[in-house]
Amino acid sequence: MAARKITTPLTDDVVRDLKAGDAVRITGVVYQARDAAHKRLVALIEAGEPLPFELQGAVVYYMGPSPAKPGNVIGSAGPTTSGRMDAYAPLLMQHGLKGMVGKGLRTQEVKDAMREHTAVYFAATGGAGALLAKCIVGNEVIAWPELGAEAVARLEVKDFPAIVVNDCHGGDLYEEGRKRYAKTV
């Protein structure tokens, strides 16, 4: 499958050009954040306080790695289920978040926010954590180390494979792909 190379941070032009079903290879910085980190990020926004990273154009990766073995950049590092971040994602998009990498279904509210704020949702292959870790070349915890695997980390990725599931035009690969292969038995 031919994949398109994109770099972060993402601009509106790049996001608008991405369509559900497109395979991409992401290079640049993505921010690791999952449940506990999202709760804290949203609390900071609501309190009007600064965030640990620049949200404008940012891509978050819903992921909590296994511990790195000595000499490795990171442990296994595949996506977690995105739906648990649905309660927080629209506010982050309102404040500039452009891309989310995870796996699994999003709510209508999240998909609506993606259209409104020009953002994109990518799926990485769940359960391919050993493979995906090979595309992570830099890893620095930048906030809340006490959260362990749930801390926020600045990850440098190189040709990280993902696929566009929800684009900013309403396209939804989970729905379209399923319809294409559904059979009656």
Binding site: S66, G75, S76, G104, R178
Partner: protein
């Protein structure tokens, strides 16, 4: 008088520790083979690519001695303790937990257990406690099975207290509905464990035990084998496909375990397992 065999619980700790690590690094051969077969048969090009990634991932994990998936799971341990064994030298349950603690530490596995789920949700930092299911069986051996159960697929599981009048068609609907609603969330292709009968507590254990069957094995009761085949066909007809991106492989296998139930009841549990079906068994 019949003499019991002494088994030092430190052997239990060592065995559990080793299983936690190898289960997380080495995908069982039956699952690996099923992924290879699925890749051949998959109709969707994207699905084929995803299955190829999963095969490559299993190869990397085994060669580099790293976890297949970063979610290295809740440690579920089934212990079948022979009634002629005397467990010596300490507390059996503590020995199992010590094995989990050491295995998750030394194996660089992720600690994924939160205490006080309703309030602090603090990480217990050593992946304990294990979920321990102990049964007493004849003989003088201890058989231990360790399963690393990830959260994403577990969350998509369901308990269905059906009415007996709903019969098998009601069960088929409930299983297919569970997998359909789960969509891409549990990391398809999935393996489905179905427990039928018993009580609300037991039926979920049956569903979990069902997941331990070898992929490709045929149930000895041809009626149940037929039910499993019917469910597998209906699930794969959903079109969800590998990672939910569309395709003909949504499940690799469906396994049923049943037991008698109350005349008023028809409990059925569906335990959803991701493609990283990690488990090991040892006999001591």
């Amino acid at each position: 008088m019949h003499q019991a065999r002494d088994l030092d619980v430190r052997e239990v700790t060592e065995a559990v520790k080793a299983m936690c690590i190898t289960a997380n690094y080495d995908l069982p051969q039956d699952v690996y083979g099923a992924l290879v077969e699925a890749k051949e048969a998959e109709e969707s090009p994207v699905g084929k690519e995803v299955l190829g990634q999963l095969i490559d991932n299993a190869d990397i994990a085994a060669a580099d001695r790293v976890p297949i998936c970063q979610d290295t799971g809740f440690a579920v341990v089934f212990a079948e303790v022979g009634q002629d064994v005397h467990l010596a030298g300490g507390d059996f349950e503590a020995a199992v937990n010590e094995g989990v603690r050491q295995g998750y530490g030394e194996g660089y596995l992720r600690r994924s257990v939160a205490e006080e789920p309703a309030h602090s949700r603090r990480n217990t930092k050593d992946n304990t406690p294990a979920i321990l299911h102990t049964s007493i069986v004849p003989g003088d051996k201890v058989r231990l099975t360790m399963m690393a159960k990830g959260g994403g697929a577990e969350n998509m599981s369901s308990l269905n207290m059906l009415k007996p009048s709903q019969g098998w068609p009601g069960m088929v609907d409930a299983v297919v509905e569970t997998v359909s609603k789960a969509g891409s969330n549990p990391c398809p292709p999935v393996i489905i464990g179905v427990g039928i009968g018993g009580t609300i507590d037991m039926v979920t254990v049956l569903a979990k035990k069902a997941l331990l069957r070898e992929i490709g094995s045929i149930h000895p009761d041809p009626r149940i084998a037929g039910m499993e085949a019917e469910l597998l066909e209906k699930i794969n007809a959903l079109g969800i496909g590998p990672q939910g991106l569309g395709g003909s492989t949504t499940a690799l296998a469906v396994f049923i375990v049943e037991m008698p139930c109350h005349i008023a009841s028809m409990p059925m549990a569906v335990n959803v397992q991701c493609h990283a079906q990690r488990h090991k068994t040892v006999e001591l």
